[in-house]
Symmetry: C2
Subunit: 345 residues, 2 copies
Amino acid sequence: MATRRIYVGGVPIGGGAPVTVQSMTNTRTEDIEATCAQIAAMRQAGCDIVRTAVPNAQAARALKEIVRRCGCPVVADIHFDYKLALQAAEAGAAKIRINPGNIGSAEKVRMVADACRERGLPIRIGVNGGSLEKDLLSRYGLTAEAMYESAMRHVRLLEQAAFTDICISVKASDVRLCVAAYRLMAQKTDFPLHIGVTEAGTEYAGIIRSAAGIGALLCDGIGDTIRISLTADPVRECMAGNELLRALGLRKNGVRIVSCPTCGRTRIDLIDIAQAVEKRLAGIDRDVTVAVMGCAVNGPGEAREADFGMAGGNREGLLFRKGEIVGKVPMDRIVDALCAMVEEG
Amino acid sequence: MATRRIYVGGVPIGGGAPVTVQSMTNTRTEDIEATCAQIAAMRQAGCDIVRTAVPNAQAARALKEIVRRCGCPVVADIHFDYKLALQAAEAGAAKIRINPGNIGSAEKVRMVADACRERGLPIRIGVNGGSLEKDLLSRYGLTAEAMYESAMRHVRLLEQAAFTDICISVKASDVRLCVAAYRLMAQKTDFPLHIGVTEAGTEYAGIIRSAAGIGALLCDGIGDTIRISLTADPVRECMAGNELLRALGLRKNGVRIVSCPTCGRTRIDLIDIAQAVEKRLAGIDRDVTVAVMGCAVNGPGEAREADFGMAGGNREGLLFRKGEIVGKVPMDRIVDALCAMVEEG
């Protein structure tokens, strides 16, 4: 089902908008310099929307200056405290992440909803498999149904406050549970979905878990904005998020290298060649696919689909361009020749 | 649909057998020492089945000694040449990867089929989106249907030779196309499926593409054996393959660290702590989940699901064990205390 659209600052989420990449700062929000520097690095790495924890009033005050300086929508991440939500809305946050069920009373929910409605700010409800309500756990166990029901409780509280500008996440650290929960949300509702696998782990394991879970959802058209959570620098989260969107054809711009795994047929150092090509072409922001192939078996066929390509040989390699052979070059000049061809366009 | 089961050496594929990890050597197969050393490293990294290119008669001869020494099933990867397939079967390969449509004649297909049947060797048909038959491309375009039809042509050739001990792959470098092709295979046939994304690229991009595509399939129960193709050392392919199976709960053994992304609430250096814990516990081959959490918001909830866990604080952290708090420890001793608890079991 197509999702509704919300706007986070000027950035659309849902309703067919391009899938966006989010990440979260891990500086002390009160440290404005450090936070703005980190946000700049995150944006450079392709972050569309930044989230920042607002754990106290000092952070809420800092948020105002951060929003003014950073040049992209900032989401305020708030737990429990409705006053911080009001302060963050006042400070210029573009979205509030808060779970209304944890705020304390319907009156407080209404105050937060009113503050957001007045300023056109959406609210993200963020359900986490690790902190589900006890009654839901005992009724459903730790299942997709429990996560769906938890999200809908929060939704109803906002709807009772006449607030519908909502985005939802149902994250779990168990990849299959996470996928099942989002599928249920997508089947039963039309809320735009912020997707991610939570507590994904260190960069290596976390990228694999996140790519599997988020990738499975995106393959089926589920997910309007993504966050890859890593116990690592948030810049790495942004890089991985962008790479995942590119892998699924959901984000263009830049060079996509397809290269074969090397095998016993490979007579050239393809690992070095592919890395050299990837590095040299990293600055290109046209949408280009470049094939770096080791041998004649799959090389020419794959290079036919790529915009540019090479297939290596013993001494000489072939250069391709949109399916046509355009040259034969000694292997020690193949990287130069291929890259020059790509750079010329 | 449940797949049929085949056996590669003693290793079952399909019919509910555990999903296995494959990779391919990139040494010269003729170099027996180098190939055996690489296979040993791959097995150490969790490779269940090794594939080796057999591009010439010398490689086929080397295969005999490699099979004798390496201690795991070896698949011979052969293109076009039926004689090499016969030699590889003779040399002790546990499976032959060859596309019968490329062998040249029904008689040659029959000879290969007979040689494999006599020895109980399955054949993998490996369709690649980059080298589809021209008539299929012009009829279907580069689509899942074209890949399915291509696979079934090869299948029919083997079936005409009364050979049915078949496993199939339908790889593409386009992740969505790849997922669609495997889904079609799984829907229409019960052949065991070897799944992978081909020409996936350098290690970083390739892991993301492979985890997305293979992960999407495994989430739906599609895939009996996997290969992550990277333009990198095949040991890295094995590591990534195992990590992906662990991420989806399809392979146990070893420590799974769940750790939260750090955020502005985190007051401890969680990246260092998580990496230190991961490193120190890498040798443990019990199936254990360890949570390394930065703060009180999600920490205790998530640690409840893990076998062991810690939630960090300013000066002291909490230790959990199967949901129960078992201690409070100064933060400078938390890694030691957590790891000791895990090691004691």
